[in-house]
């Protein structure tokens, strides 16, 4: 039986290993950032030089922000598990760490990646689309809670698709139905943040979603990971 400190050490080493590998190639960071900015430019150009009116902006712009985030995550996050299977390091990882520690390490890596992306993308998005946010604090909270949900859902689905064929397309097919309730709640909350309204029941629901996906992930990951 392993004790808590070994577990924490394992989770931390997985997290550190992920970022060390990431800084060697910067594959995920570059893909995510470039994908997000390309989509942002497409969105901004398509909206035209005048952008959208304030009334329409509150309805439309939060949707576009979350769609960009969702597709960027789909482009970059599955890599962390697919790479383990492709380079044959998955077996060594199975021996080195307990499944729950590995899941938490990978989740922490995914979360930091998504938060870094949001920190880079959101200010540029707000500036380019001329979006006026009345409660920036709520927006930051929604981005954090929504980003966590994106990372948690994607980590488990990435572990599933890494062992299947046609990994790239399969990730989108499997992850989007799981992430859609999160997306609807996040869009709703972002609209409220832009309009300056109180968050109401949607915020506890978003946190509840995060909690249930985390519990499901911890419960299911051993079955997904160990053959």
């Amino acid at each position: 039986m392993r004790n808590a400190s070994t577990w924490a050490a394992e989770a931390t080493s997985v997290f550190v290993k992920e970022w060390r590998c990431e800084f060697r190639t910067r594959y995920a960071l570059n893909t995510l950032a470039l994908f997000a900015f390309t989509t942002l430019v497409v969105v901004s150009v398509s909206l035209g030089p005048l952008g959208v009116s304030r009334a329409h902006g509150t309805a439309v712009l939060p949707v576009l922000l979350w769609v960009i985030l969702l597709f960027s995550v789909a482009a970059g996050l599955p890599r962390s598990f697919v790479q383990e299977e492709e380079t044959g390091t998955a077996m060594a990882l199975r021996l080195a760490a307990t499944p729950s520690a590995l899941f938490c390490g990978k989740l922490a890596y995914g979360l930091t990646l998504v938060l870094a992306l949001e920190a880079m993308l959101t200010p540029v998005y707000v500036a380019m689309t001329n979006l006026k946010v009345v409660s920036p604090g709520l927006l930051a909270g929604v981005l954090a809670a929504g980003g966590y949900g994106l990372a948690a859902g994607s980590t488990l689905v990435a572990a599933i698709i890494a062992q299947a064929r046609s990994k790239g397309t399969l990730f989108s097919v499997l992850a989007f139905p799981v992430l859609l309730p999160l997306l609807l709640l996040s869009v709703e909350l972002t609209r409220l943040a832009v309009a300056g309204s109180p968050p109401g029941v949607a915020l506890p629901q978003l946190l509840l979603y995060d909690a249930s996906v985390t519990v499901a992930g911890l419960m299911l990951f051993p079955a997904v990971w160990n053959p």
Binding site: I160, Q163, P177, L180, L185, Y209, V215, G217
Partner: protein, 219 residues
Amino acid sequence: MKNLLAWLLWFVISAVIVGAFWYAPLAQGFLGESSRILFFHVPMAWVSFVAFIAAGVWSLLFLFRGRRPKDDRAAAAAVELGLLFGVLATITGALWARIMWGAYWNWDPRQTSIIICLLFYAAYLALRSAVEDGDARARLSASYAVLGLAVAPFLFFIMPRIMFSLHPQSVINAQGKIEVESRMVQVLLVGSAGFTALFFWIHNLRCRLQALSDRKSAL
């Protein structure tokens, strides 16, 4: 005995068809004869709900009770049938919405949740076809189905509450009152029971067929 049950099922489903068109009265506040489609729409939606819950339970049993291939076959068959009944419920609902709301599709919360649900279970089948190894396929698809159980409450209980809905109140609503005429309730209940039995009958056939096919390919 099995033959007798099949005949009984045939009789119940026939009775529901007769009851829907000749026995039950028209519902108040519905245009023309449009309320009659509900005697098929409600049981189909109910069966697809039952099928998805059953698929989740069989997946849980597979993962945490000995990894028996029988449970995996049962879960996969339940998803296939749930998808079939779900599509039928969506089509009948869309036809009804065209008459009552003026458009086949208008992203009512119920329509949103059923479409996400159908996407989820179509993805489940896509996952099954993308894994060649039988053991890995069972393990991965069961995990995905259980993840669906964790997300489903948000689709069925929370989203319809935060979004404005035109969908009529369920037969058994929050106040615990039945607000539908009693002859309609009788047909709806018999219909739901009959369709549920139909589901388990087809499900049983499908599982046996799949078991034989697995045995044949193992030879």
